[in-house]
């Protein structure tokens, strides 16, 4: 299921476990990982023609923008960046006490025949990505959809695998991966925090 951190992040809440976790990626680690992913995207697609980056709200969006900056730097092409909210595509309708807020979606170009690189901060169960695939396909018929994530923490519940990974992090189910970004949290860094026991 969706972790609380994932849910909080997706709802734009600034509630993240405060410090006390184990730092697994520093700001420099993140910078290098994103640079490598940008190179991998270019290599894999032999350039950036027909490419569109789509960030999954909330934290996938700034990561997608950072990748776009690097693609521009390396290839001299401004790749369009969209943002996708998956709330209406989640698979837990009717299972929640309160509906999560629906965020904005903005896909700046027609996705038909484009190569979409879907970008998220943490890949966990794969349910968010499943929802995002459904959402994207409502906008048209992309030629291909690829997946880039900053952290792959395992525990997949669906047959989904990433094409580009910043860091593979083995975690336990009782831990959360907290991604902090300058744009949303004031600083860069990834931590593992053990989940508080909730009443």
């Amino acid at each position: 299921m969706y972790s609380d951190v994932e849910a909080a992040a997706r709802n734009g809440s600034d509630h993240l476990p405060s410090s006390g976790g184990k730092l697994i990626m520093s700001a420099d680690d993140m910078r290098r990982a994103l640079t490598r992913i940008a190179h991998e995207i270019i290599e894999h697609n032999r350039g950036v023609r027909q490419l569109v980056l789509v960030g999954m709200r909330t934290r996938g969006v700034p990561i997608a923008r950072r990748l776009a900056e690097r693609l521009d730097e390396f290839e001299g092409v401004q790749v369009p960046v969209g943002e996708l909210d998956i709330t209406l595509y989640r698979d837990d309708i009717g299972l929640r006490a309160v509906q999560p807020m629906v965020g904005s979606t903005a896909i700046p170009v027609d996705v038909s025949d484009k190569i979409i690189v879907l970008v998220d901060d943490v890949l966990f169960t794969g349910r968010s990505v499943r929802a995002a695939l459904d959402a994207l396909i409502d906008y048209g018929r992309p030629r291909a959809i690829q997946l880039a994530v900053l952290v792959d923490r395992g525990h997949r519940e669906l047959p989904i695998r990433p094409d580009y990974v910043g860091k593979n992090v083995p975690t336990s189910q009782t831990e959360d991966v907290a991604v902090r970004l300058r744009e949303t949290d004031g600083q860069d860094g990834v931590e593992i925090v053990s989940r508080e026991v909730r009443a």
């Binding site: 849910a7 709802n11 809440s13 509630h15 909210d85 709330t87 209406l88 595509y89 309708i93 009717g94 299972l95 929640r96 006490a97 309160v98 509906q99 999560p100 807020m101 629906v102 965020g103 904005s104 979606t105 903005a106 459904d134 959402a135 409502d138 906008y139 048209g140």
Partner: protein, 348 residues
Amino acid sequence: MTAAIKSQGPAVKAHSARNGQGHAAAEVDPDGLQPAGLPAPAPGPRRHCLDLDDYSAEEIRQVLDTADAMKEILARPVKKAPGLRGRMVVNCFYEASTRTRVSFEVAAKNLSADVVNFSAGGSSVEKGESLIDTARTLVALGANVIVIRHSMAGAPHVVARNAGAAVINAGDGRHAHPSQALLDLYTIRERLGGLAGLRVAIVGDVLHSRVARSNIHGLTRMGAEVILCGPATLLPVNLQLAGMRFEHDLDAILPQADVVMPLRIQKERAEGGLIPSLREYRQRYGVTTERLRRMRPGALIMHPGPMNPGVEIDPEVATSPQSVIESQVSNGVAIRMALLYLLAGVAV
């Protein structure tokens, strides 16, 4: 899952539209006057939308923000998202309606809900089945949401208290029409960038208007000033809320208003002696092209429909650049998608 809502914790079966219990003052009231002494909004997730009087500003903002996201779906080539897949919405209309019923139906279908339209004519209501029994039957058939319009004020409250479904009031007697008021708030916010500090003139038959009543609650809650303008016979003089006042001279308030909303004047009002004649009404309170020129530049003309062209509003005014009447109708779908999404998807 905003912080405000999340912090309200688990449902407490106690009061009001949160769960349909104890809306004590809102018994069926054929006069349709505002029930006095409504309980304060109780904690717990909201289950029903019965009027705006128990919506906080934060809750109203949440509905309007959700409608923003829904509007994006309406701009897509395929206007459909699976947000309410497998949920059943029953439109239960005991009174005639075009735009509200179609709007709710379109909204539910855009979110992939199953929609059943029920109208009292041709149903067991004609055999004397009561409102409560009808509602319970609909729930037994799988309804998750009942959208109800009824000529009796308080009917949606009765259904909310007695049937295990989310209830949305689509207009009850002279009491409330919250989805219309929300789409009006949304349209104003969209055009003028906000609601706080605006001056909204609601003109005409406020006494018999559920649209006006819900708008008064919603607008004042959001910090707008409401001027109710009309002949004394058509103003609800017993209604007093902070942020609203009565006026009788339309020409005096026109240059101050950011929004002018004439209400439909029913021909029966003249026959019933509340106004001398439709012609005289038009002279004093009709929004004519002449009066349009005296409005603030950029001020909006709104109308909840259906219109009586040439009585409360001139056809040229209704189609003028300042008129947002068509936007009101299309925004209605986004607002109703937002309401359905917020109320229909939660665990019961």
